[in-house]
Symmetry: C2
Subunit: 121 residues, 2 copies
DNA sequence: CGGCATCCCTAATGATACTG
DNA sequence: CAGTATCATTAGGGATGCCG
């Protein structure tokens, strides 16, 4: 019985690690202070660089530039330079970036609820 | 028409900010390298301190201690010191912590999928 | 076993100025 | 407008040792 229990515990422990690993992967990709806010803005609609800088309050052009580059490298967003005009580029979610929607929505929902809860207390 | 368009754009911009704010709130609470992995482990089952340290690979006791304290302060987890035994404490999700489930599941799901995608490419 | 204290280092971010 | 370059600062986190 104790042997069986040990085996069960070990299996549970392994299973638990299998839950954690993908979560850590996600954090690598969309973690940090800025990426989810940027993605949230882009899930709303496509934005230009300076529009993003206004929406994501407090971000510097330096950080915005870097984060956009990382998100693009990971295939979550795409950059389109408008051909007609000069010095205009637009950022948008790729289909793969749109697949983050469940995460974005669940976070937004929980966060909205939490804010209300904190305010009312 | 251009006036209407400006009003519409401004409304959209405000609405977008309303999407971003709660997301930033959530990041404040469960962001960073360790909190979501810890919460994921606890969503699986309650854990003791050293069990968590094993599950959340690479975390030091210092960081685990600090993160657990923050999560408890935010009402997401609870600590139970077992009365019978000495020096044993268990951590578990509170009901409020369990309300994070949608976030945890959506991240785990996306992360699992992403890992498969990366591996196969 | 479950932590806390100290010291230290690096990565992340900010501030500012500049450019095509 | 959409960034880049440089410098300064800070927060996050690792290593280690100690303690009830």
């Amino acid at each position: 019985m104790s042997i069986l229990k040990n085996k069960t515990n070990r299996r549970n422990a392994e299973e638990c690690k299998l839950f954690i690993r993908p979560v850590r992967d996600v954090i690598e990709i969309i973690g940090g202070k800025w990426r989810l806010p940027i993605l949230t803005a882009l899930s709303f609609k496509k934005h230009r660089f300076n529009e993003l800088q206004i929406q994501v309050d407090g971000i510097t052009s330096r950080m915005l530039s870097r984060e956009l580059k990382d998100l693009e490298l990971n295939g979550l967003i795409e950059k389109n330079s408008l051909p007609e005009t000069t010095s205009i580029s637009e950022y948008n979610l790729t289909p793969y970036g749109k697949s983050l929607d469940n995460i974005l929505v669940s976070m937004r929902t929980w966060g909205t609820n939490h804010r209300e809860k904190i305010m009312n207390v």
